[in-house]
């Protein structure tokens, strides 16, 4: 079960049980919805920018709660980008994207990614990388105020 211990790390199980920043930020300067039609994961994201800084960010699960990987990833994402500038958040998104799409043999940039590195295990499961990426694509949409809901398909 070593593979699974990597995927279902204690940090991920904890963030799945108790996702952080579950709230609707009001008033919001950016909102977006994310869907993974494959499994029905759905996420609504609200954030408030003050100048260039993401002053507050909240997530809710408008449908039924998603899988552990997508829920934990969303929770960890909010913690990672809160208080960061938009540029820093986008750089984290890029680093996360590199990690999750790289072959398993590639080293993980733990220095940049911090707690987010706990999700590296998802890249060994081709069907699960979308679960880990959903929150980040939704964040990107909220920051760029893209009109259409984000979908992993």
């Amino acid at each position: 079960m070593t593979d699974l211990r990597g995927l279902y790390d204690e940090l991920i199980l904890d963030h799945n049980r108790n996702p952080r920043n579950v709230k609707v930020v009001e008033p919001a300067t950016g909102t977006a919805e994310g869907n993974n039609p494959l499994c029905g994961d759905a996420l609504a994201l609200t954030l408030r920018q003050e100048g260039d800084v993401i002053a507050d960010i909240g997530i809710t699960f408008p449908g039924r709660k998603g899988c552990a990987i997508s829920t934990a990833s969303a929770s960890l994402m909010t913690g990672a980008v809160k208080g960061k500038t938009v540029q820093e958040a986008e750089a984290l998104f890029q680093a996360f994207h590199r990690m999750i799409t790289a072959p398993d043999s590639q080293p993980v940039d733990e220095k940049t990614l911090g707690k987010l590195a706990a999700l590296a295990g998802a890249r060994r499961f081709a069907s699960r990388t979308k679960c880990a990426s959903l929150a980040w694509h939704t964040l990107h949409a909220a920051l760029t105020n893209a009109a259409a809901p984000v979908t992993t398909e």
């Binding site: 079960m1 593979d3 699974l4 995927l7 279902y8 199980l13 799945n16 049980r17 494959l38 499994c39 029905g40 994961d41 449908g63 039924r64 709660k65 998603g66 899988c67 552990a68 990987i69 499961f125 069907s127 699960r128 679960c131």
Partner: protein, 419 residues
Amino acid sequence: MTTTRVGPPAGPASAFDVDAVRADFPILHTTVHGRPLVYVDNAATSQKPRQVIEATDRYYAEQNANIHRGVYYLSERATAAYEDVREKAARFINAAEAREVIFVRGTTEAINLVASSWGRANLSAGDEVLVTAMEHHSNIVPWQLICEERGAVLRVIPMSRQGELLLDEARRLVTPKTKLLALAHVSNSLGTINPVRELAAVAHGWGAVVLVDGAQAAPHLKVDVRALGADFYTVSGHKMFGPTGIGLLYGRADLLEAMPPYQGGGDMIRSVTFAKTTYAPIPSKFEAGTPNIAGVVGLGAALDYLNALPWPAVMAHEHDLHDRAVVQLSEIPGVTIIGTAKHKASVVSFTMDGVHPHDVGTIVDQEGVAVRTGHHCTQPVMDFLQIAATTRASFAFYNTRADVDALVRAVKKVREMFA
């Protein structure tokens, strides 16, 4: 074991020898993540016995030629093999005539053929097509497409939370406006065996025709299209131990004869001029182009295999697996069985409190257990039950009690991990 045996040994119906059957399925003796494969995703697709694999190989190695127009030995032999399977398939579902059997890619294509060809000729503005709340998307979307095109209306027979159709509602919904009733013989996500015969009689009472999606029934039940009252019946080869990409559409001869072609091309014509083309009689009218000949030959081997099984004992065996899984899974804290109809095929869908089915699927896969997770192409069923998805184990005759136990052990591991 000799290599000439074409099916499991005949024996007393009460003594179904599951080990002998398993010996015919090479993939059941492979490992996944270092563990013996426990394949319980048969509602998605079934595994293939070597008799099917060898028949397809032999076709390509010794018999391959295009059918119907060749005047040489190989082509005549390939044509005979192809048409033999049509006869065999007609007997398998108890069609009155072989020409009522059309070879298609699968159930999806069969339903699209009827919706497109029959629908275009028979549906007008204000007409109604009736489906049920538990249909697979492939028995919903083709009807939505043709209803939109023709200005017809799609109506839905509701079901109970246990997964049984509400027959009183069904009787109320069938009216003179109803032109066609399309329903699953067996639900793929809930396992419900629907009362097709009763519903078909109600529909016929108002002059509607009845299409039955038999994708999940043909691998598990004895199908008799005439006893059921099915005007159309659809079958997928790959779900009944045959190759992918081949299936059957049964249609009553008088209906098929009156329907316009679905696709144009070779083999479906009587004569072609630039001024006017006349069409071949059924079944050729609906088989444009070179068909999946190897698939048909493989399907024939699958039908032979199924015909040789001791059916009452096979059904009792599958029932035993279903009941064992339901009892043992229900004992795991937080597990809820989804689909508890009185009459069910060997499909066990369930949810687990606090754990998404995709997490269940990934974790049990590490134990070698292959289950389906998601909405199973029945999103309206998930919406009705207010769940996002389920984990689904679906058994075939080659599954064992040990497979059920491995599934249950793996699901218990999930429970521990998410305690």
